[in-house]
Amino acid sequence: MSDPLLVSEGLTKVFRRRFFGGKDSELRAVDEVSFAVARGTVYGFLGPNGAGKSTTIRLALGLIHPTAGRVTIGGHDVATQRLRALRKVGAFVETPSFYPYLSGRKNLEIFAGLSGGATSAEIEAALELVGLRERAGDKVKVYSHGMKARLGLAGCLLPRPELLVLDEPTDGLDPHGIREVRTLIRRLAGDEGLTVFLSSHMLGEVENLCTHIAILERGRLILEGALEELERTHRRYRIEVDRTAEAAALLREKFGLECRSEAGERKGLLVPLGGRPPEALCAALSAAGFGVRVFAPEQAWLDRLFLELTTSRESDGGPAKVEDAA
């Protein structure tokens, strides 16, 4: 991967709690997590609740101190050069927080000021971009959840960052709010060319927005790679043919593929292609005289992969790394 903007190397965070007269307790919230986010990518950080996503983001932004490992942003170590590292970063962690007794515009002035300042024109442009210009004079306490999320995004854009770090940006929003925020993130990544690092437990959101993903489980990175490449290797095809068992035998014999019968009422086969072109399989089945009724990519493949990885893994030898096809 060339020119990574955000790099995590062996990042570990152990929270220790000391009890007087009792046993000390220890929680390994993040365990040797390594990943790299290339410029221009939208990197989705997935994991169930409590997997360590927010802790990793807090470590990446210098809010909490790592027990081991390090994070660099733009080549600057967050632990030792935090101010330089954060200069080109726009971020919010968990929910965007504001001073409720101040207006949206005043909040933006304050937060942009902490990053070196933004001109009035830049503030207005950011408000315009998130569709809050007309309500910018209102106090934040009267804003809806969605408006606060959009104001949070506007805050991240001031002054213009290179990297956006968003922790569950659509959490708690209604469907309209979710759509607005997703559209905005897509626009920022696509039109504005920003690198985006976002955490979420909403798989559809990640599949829609991201070019790369990582899955975190119990503080450990268990899968990482380009979404396209992961799809090529992990997405299965659903095949319905007239003679299911014979078709499965053919695919095993000719392509070495282990097919699985669908559970329940459905009679199809689930075939992991393992990177093979689907056209070749379809042609082979037709040539062998099978009547192919359905040959379609699996729906919600990421959900399935996520559930398989996060419910079956008690412990393993480390993250499953998928090389970036690029």
């Binding site: 210098g62 590292a85 954060l86 968990e94 001073y99 101040l102």
Partner: protein, 295 residues
Amino acid sequence: MNAPCGKGGLAVTPLLRFEWTKMAGRRIFGVPFLVLALVVALIVTVFHHVQFKHMLALFQALHVNLSSKGDFVNAYYMAAHAMNPVFQLLIPIFITVAAGLMVAGEAEDGTLRACLVRPVSRRRLLLTKFELLAGYSLALSFFYLALLLTSGVLNFGTGNLYTLNIIFHNGDEGVSTVLEAEAPLRFLYAGLVATLGMMVLASLALLVSALVETAAMAYVVTLSIYFAAMTLRFLTGLDWLYPYLFVTHMLSWQQCFYSYPKWGDIYVSMVHLAAYVIVFLCAAILLFEERDIKS
């Protein structure tokens, strides 16, 4: 508003402006001024209605040539006596609440986290909050004093200031007299020393705020430490401890109303207070730099 971004992060001046904007926008920071104004109104009313017969008798017993309430109840008498409870109780509470809101309160609300994901130095942020608290202490102290003296002059006029030493000087007997011409300057000194004392409390509150997660916890812990130290001053047998207690030096403003103040002792107390500010503030910065922002 293109603020410069210097070597150590954001320059102090814009940061101070942002902190001021946050503080000025919050009504709770204005409430103490209203409370102090009400206290002054109450004190003036009381001074109008009380005859001070007992006090007159005490002065006469101590051979002070006073014949009626009007001989000693004036603006300075009222202000000096009204400083005691407010500078020992009310203003410390206001300062503690303000400091708690500024750090632990912001941590609780998530706005501290929002600030610290920006390229701003934690040390600078805390120092700026202290600067603002110092200004707030000064504003509260002198607002109260100015209001007391103004309303005192308007209602009771001026004159020599007579005070019982036992009220201000921990057991010395007799009466102190400050001449009318000298009294305003004595109040200025007393106000400055008292403000320095409030800064000790502000730095202690910041230190506590850097340790705890909620504003309420910050108030409770800071005020507990303050009142515990105050209580120790009343315990007999602990006289050896008094010089080391920050509250002893916080009360040194009272010595400004002595007939002949021991300025050397007052300066020593001021040095102690400054040292306490530095120690508490340095400890607060060290802890705040190392603190994990989890809320």
